[in-house]
């Protein structure tokens, strides 16, 4: 089996991450219950006429995918795989709302077309003229990991040499309103630097788009090697530790080999216990980081974590703002990402400096 390398990154998030030569140089602090991306100058990437009707998820992804391709120094790829919890949900919502308000009349197709969950993957393919494998995964918090798994299998099996893999979700009003109703989003604004001390229910919802070029060939721009990815639809608190140990063992690794663990704490008092128990037991002596105070929580927030892990390995620097404990790694080689959302859809992603 061929090794799989992460050769480039591209990010549009609630922090200024769209410049690949920077790494969280300036931090935007929020005090809110929802946070939007910092928009790059879309005009540099998209003709204004096209941009007007374009869903935000497509716009963000045009930038992050282009940045990933540019950094990898390639113009096309063999496959495009995208994870998205909700696709271009803004257009879906507008279409439903128009159906109801206009009693199913005077509708136009654009909203419906962009509602198709695979719009982003399709649009990127169209833009690149990429006729290869084109998949879209829509499974809540493991949408991005499902894409990584699909890409990894195809690369290892020699079916393709380069894959553009991404995760994208956009924040829209009705979705926020309804998810606030059911307590998934915090009721009151919170200063995000105090996210983990909130002791309240729900998360701060964010959005973002993250793309990466994965390849079987190492290049001068290579960030890391993708060692393993695994997801679990259910997992009880009592069983997480055992699953992590078994996951590492399969790679002939132990906890001591992990130089940094990136945890998905989102400040929800009902579910952060999954991470807290690991912080004080299994990972007690491991350097720990977190990120959802920077990115917000969304279905493909782990795209931000994957971006963060890769930037850390490349720069050999853990920004202070993401540190969850004071332990300094003696070596920065192997990074583990663990995530779950509301106790479901757990994922483990392991990357290694190469």
């Amino acid at each position: 089996m061929k090794p799989v390398y992460i050769n480039s990154v591209g990010s549009v998030s609630a922090q200024k991450t769209f410049e690949n030569n920077e790494f969280l140089n300036e931090i935007t602090d929020y005090n809110d219950t929802v946070i939007h991306v910092i928009d790059p100058n879309y005009k540099e990437y998209i003709p204004p006429a096209a941009a007007r009707r374009m869903a935000r998820g497509i716009k963000m992804s045009t930038v992050s995918s282009k940045n990933a391709l540019t950094e990898a120094g390639i113009e096309n790829v063999d496959a495009i795989i995208v994870g998205t919890g909700l696709g271009c949900i803004g257009d879906s919502e507008r279409f439903v709302s128009d159906i109801i308000k206009n009693d199913e009349q005077f509708l136009t197709p654009t909203r419906f077309i962009q509602s198709s969950h695979n719009t982003v993957a399709g649009q990127i393919a169209l833009g690149l003229g990429c006729k290869g494998h084109n998949f879209t995964f829509v499974h809540s918090a493991v949408s991005f990991e499902s894409s990584l798994i699909d890409a990894k299998i195809m690369l290892e099996n020699n079916e393709v040499n380069t894959v553009l893999v991404g995760g994208v979700d956009e924040l829209v009003e009705h979705h926020v309103t309804t998810h606030r109703l059911i307590g998934h989003i915090k009721k009151k604004p919170i200063a995000l630097k105090e996210l983990l001390q909130s002791k309240t229910e729900g998360m701060v919802m964010g959005e973002g788009s993250h793309f990466f070029v994965l390849s079987t060939e190492k290049s001068p721009s290579t960030y890391s090697e993708l060692v393993a990815v695994k997801t679990f639809n259910t997992l009880s608190k009592e069983r997480v530790e055992g699953k992590i140990v078994a996951f590492l063992e399969r790679q002939h690794l132990s906890i001591n080999d992990i130089d940094l663990v990136i945890l998905g704490n989102n400040g929800d008092v009902n579910y952060d216990g999954y991470y807290e128990q690991l912080s004080t037991t299994l990972f007690n002596d491991t350097p720990q980081a977190y990120y959802k105070h920077l990115s917000g929580e969304f279905d493909t927030a782990t795209g931000f974590a994957f971006w963060l892990a890769n930037k850390i390995l490349k720069t050999q620097n853990i920004p202070d703002v993401v540190k969850l404990n004071a332990i300094e790694p003696s070596n920065l080689k192997t990074v583990l990402i663990y995530n779950q959302y509301r106790g479901e859809n757990h994922s483990l992603t392991l990357i290694r400096k190469c």
Binding site: G122, S140, L181
Partner: protein, 400 residues
Amino acid sequence: MGKGVAITGMGAISAIGDNVQENYDALVSGKVGISRISKIDTVHKDDIMVGEIEMTNDQLKQKLGIPKEDAVSRTALLAMLAADEAISQAGVTDINDCETGLISGTTVGGMDQSEKYYFEYLESDEHWGHINGLHAGDSTQKLADHLGLTESFASTISTACSSAANAIMLGARMIQSGQLDRVIVGGTDSLCKFTINGFKTLMILSDTHNTPFDDERKGLNLGEAAAYLVLESDEIVKRDNKKVLGYVTGYGNANDAYHQTASSENGDGAVLAMEKAFKVAGLDPSDIDYVNAHGTATPNNDLSEGRALLRTFGGNVPEFSSTKAFTGHTLAVAGGIEAVYSVLALQNNIIYPNLNFTTPMKEFTLLPQTTVKQKELRHVLSNSFGFGGNCSTLIFSKEA
């Protein structure tokens, strides 16, 4: 590549039957499932015909033993019924007895409920249980819970009308690469105002019975369905002495990269998908005994697919037919229900009729098979194409 992946169970529910046997009986007896819509109060009800499943949500819940008041979308209910049948045929008694996965395709997810309560959510908490159902993955998660699948790989693919085909493809890959021992693959979609109106704005809905590959075709009939296959590794087949129904031997996905909703004039993506599938299967076009076409009966699809078939098979296009005149276009499930039909075709050495065909298309001389035909079948090819230029081909075979 090499060996195919064993199929050990199948389940299906569509407008022509609540289980696999009923679907097969309808296909060979010419019983169509296309009618006026009865369960959704849409202003378009007199302009469209659909492939609607007879059972109401309450009846589905009763059959599944789910309390009436539980917030479960029709999409998820249909999935449970079909997957239960597949699991039962595969003789799976403990779903967690090996590394089992679930990959489901859907386009609408819980939209059938979301569109009902969209504004009502803001007024009353009565239907808040459906809020999270808007996530397409929620239907898969509920299906996993229903099947008792725990600590496992469960995911959802949404690539429009090729979703279930792609779920089957990924499942086969994950078995071949040793990541899973068993995987339940397929898809589910229910009718809703969202898709009815969406396709209406695209002006590709027929006001009468759809007529695949006919020169006078007017568009598609939407349908609803769920269909799942159980794929198992050779080790599990051997361990449990399983009866194998057929094999997934070839698969290919390619992108047309031509237009967000329309297929290219010459079917570039379709040709590439079929070529990839042949390569994976180690087969030549001449090995294919029957093509279960996508054949939605839209002017664009049937022209593009027809040309792709001619380019791929040259002058020797095998018997082909679209079963959409029976079921309607079941969107995400098309590749799943037609996978079930393809395996049934292999098992029974039967080619299904392409109904409602009278006038050959003027662009070429392709003639679909219009009557039930007995023929020794070894390899069946099934196409599914979707928005976003998504083109998928699966090949099913009697032998690995």
